[in-house]
Subunit: 416 residues, 2 copies
């Protein structure tokens, strides 16, 4: 066997990023994934990234983007709002192992693609859904992107906002990072359900939301359950703690600007084992014995002085010089890299996060590997993300449709 999922068939009625990423991860391990797209509009993710003036980037740019979420899949166009489209998807699901969707509950009921309807035809089916805000509650049918579901509503974005600045915007900066990470959780749920099916013979429903993931990831949310806010001294004390600025926390656990306007992040926590070595690394050996800083208590008492001193010290050398000075130490630190630097980082490259791929249209390229590495049944990149509608006929022929029926489905705009 190659992948762990070579015998698994997945059908996805999804768009954009989060749910397609779950399916792509599973496709990397060999699952046959059919990505269903609307015959007229296709998946909007194909052209989501646009220039500030609204025009499209050249194909090389959007390709990497689309590819990341959809490689190793097949594309089928199908209008699920038509009765004939639903008949086809029911035929697909009769022999599928997994159905993945990011449609909202009301839509799914309208298209009879809710779990209650589908499980009657295939009780072994794992039914996985990814929503912005969950399948219950007042906003279950509200639309939710990465930015609002994972980041803004969960408390995540509040925590990243700094004094005197607007909140950072993962939406136009990190682009779908919350979606992507939530897709990993959905893939976990699907795999767990497949494992359970080995014992029970039965499928089940898997349910993940952007909002739940954002809350789950944040310890400050976890901490605010129960009486913690009162214990801390009330809401204001809690909020102040959450938004502590750089100079309010340990000067050994923050970032500093360098001579060339770059930033270096320290993470010397707990600091005790590192203090003397740190002083040597910054060329200030005398500070190791300086009684203002030489114990945890003293550093807390003289936090402001230490902060100012380190701000000045780090401005005396460039990031490259600091990297050289820190390289041979056991300190916990990192340059704050740009994404293009991360991509050239020898450490990242050594661990196989980028893999070469020969794309039929764009030639030799590298793509980001599956971040979960398995030694015996490794993930692989086999085929590029599909062209829109590339496999519709192939899949209909597999289902037993003949060319005459396929021509009719095209005429009636059930497929493209």
């Amino acid at each position: 066997m190659d992948g762990a999922l070579n015998d698994i068939k997945i059908v996805e009625v999804t768009t954009m990023a989060a749910a397609p990423m779950a399916a792509r991860l599973l496709a990397d391990w060999g699952a046959d994934v059919v990505h269903i797209e609307h015959p007229q509009t296709g998946d909007p993710w194909r052209t989501w990234i646009k220039k500030p003036d609204g025009s499209l980037y050249p194909p090389e740019v959007s390709y990497h983007y689309w590819e990341h979420y959809n490689r190793n899949k097949r594309s089928m166009s199908l209008d699920i709002s038509q009765e004939q489209g639903r008949e086809i998807i029911y035929r697909l699901l009769k022999n599928a192992d997994v159905f993945i969707t990011n449609r909202r509950p009301a839509e799914l009921r309208r298209f009879r693609l809710d779990y209650a309807s589908i499980k009657k035809t295939n009780k072994r089916l794992v039914y996985a859904s990814l929503t912005g805000f969950g399948k219950k509650g007042p906003d279950k049918d509200a639309p939710g992107h990465d930015t609002v579901g994972f980041w803004a509503r969960s408390g995540f974005m509040y925590l990243l906002q700094q004094a005197g600045s607007a909140p950072p915007s993962p939406g136009y900066r990190t682009v779908a990072a919350g979606d992507t990470l939530t897709g990993v959780a959905l893939a976990l749920g699907i795999t767990m359900a497949l494992l359970a099916r080995q014992k029970t013979g039965l499928g089940q429903e898997v349910d993940v939301s952007l909002l739940n993931m954002g809350i789950f990831a944040n310890v400050p949310a976890v901490m605010s359950l129960g009486p913690v806010i009162q214990v801390l001294g009330g809401k204001k004390a809690y909020t102040d703690m959450l938004r502590r600025e750089r100079h309010d926390v340990s000067p050994l656990f923050i970032s500093y600007e360098t001579k060339d306007k770059r930033w270096l992040q320290l993470s010397l926590a707990p600091p005790e084992p590192y203090w003397a070595e740190f002083c040597r690394a910054i060329g200030r050996e005398e500070m190791a014995a300086d009684s203002r800083f030489s114990s945890a208590e003293a550093r807390t008492e003289n936090k402001e002085a230490l902060f100012r001193t380190l701000e000045d010290v780090f401005r005396t050398r460039t990031l490259a010089q600091w990297k050289a000075a820190f390289k041979k130490t056991s300190l916990i630190w990192s340059p704050i890299q740009r994404p293009d630097e991360a991509v050239r980082d020898p450490q990242a490259r050594a661990n196989g996060i980028f893999v070469p791929f020969q794309h039929p249209g764009l030639g030799r390229m590298r793509v980001v590997a599956n971040p979960v590495r398995l030694s015996r049944t490794p993930a692989s990149v086999r085929t590029p993300a599909p062209e829109f509608n590339q496999h519709t006929e192939e899949i209909l022929l597999e289902l037993g449709y003949d060319w005459e029926s396929i021509a009719r489905l095209k005429r009636e705009k059930v497929i493209a």
Copy 2:
């Protein structure tokens, strides 16, 4: 059956956050997880959160924190640097299904806990490791926290930095969010390996790193593979694009400050279907027909004017008033909530992300549920995170040690 993993035994030699979260997620589905801690120091995560002066918070605060990563587990003290400690862990692993560690490669070889050594005694064992920077490369043995591995080095933190402000610091703000999300990926890898083992009868190595996850999550990193930077017009154009400020992007995809100094996030992308409804929601119906704004092209041309107008409009009402105005619309938006607000959010509550739990010492409380919901084999909260060393004797008795040997192991400080 209750959980999907009721028959799975996991041994973890881990500390802190990321690797323990992988084990905790699996414990939620019924796996028996033995969390091994050093007999003298224990897992430093038990008391990681400290006040700015370095002193400990009351138990209610650190409890929620420690609990989140370690519920449903058993705690065993064991000094794996001693030969007798290694003998015990080898006996545990002989009948285990999964080994999880976040120790670095050099340490694992020293303790003969590397995969090559362990798999000789149990070829069905799934061997899972979580590192800061991966198991190969120049920095494979460098220490890596959440802040440096997931956020700083990967490009993530760079993307969240805004003009005129230091980089945000997930380290002291979101606390281990990158660890937590990477733990989900390790849990996925372990589950996939267990599924593969059903067919092959063999275990394998699973390998996840904070750095790889940070890169994987970020489309701007993905995009900078291949010729994209050149296509965009060179490195400066690329960097400028990554750090676009609020006023440089679509005014319908950013956050605005309200009258009461709170923030509201819009995510009207693509904006076309929402424009008229949005104008009504903000009480500026006349803007829908205003030729400066009524098409995508016009809004791009008059971006600055639209931005300033919306900044002024949103400052005229409080967040609560805006929530009321947006509630009945189909717009994609969210208040930027504090974590304590997220915890009280009726939508979050309706979807079961918080579950009640009766803690033996602290009484009735709520904890954050497993974010992956399975209908037939649901995750559950059965036992609180263990006290340090709580199950050492119980586990040694299960392995066949008698009370005399246990007393000797205590005397020789192999266990606590």
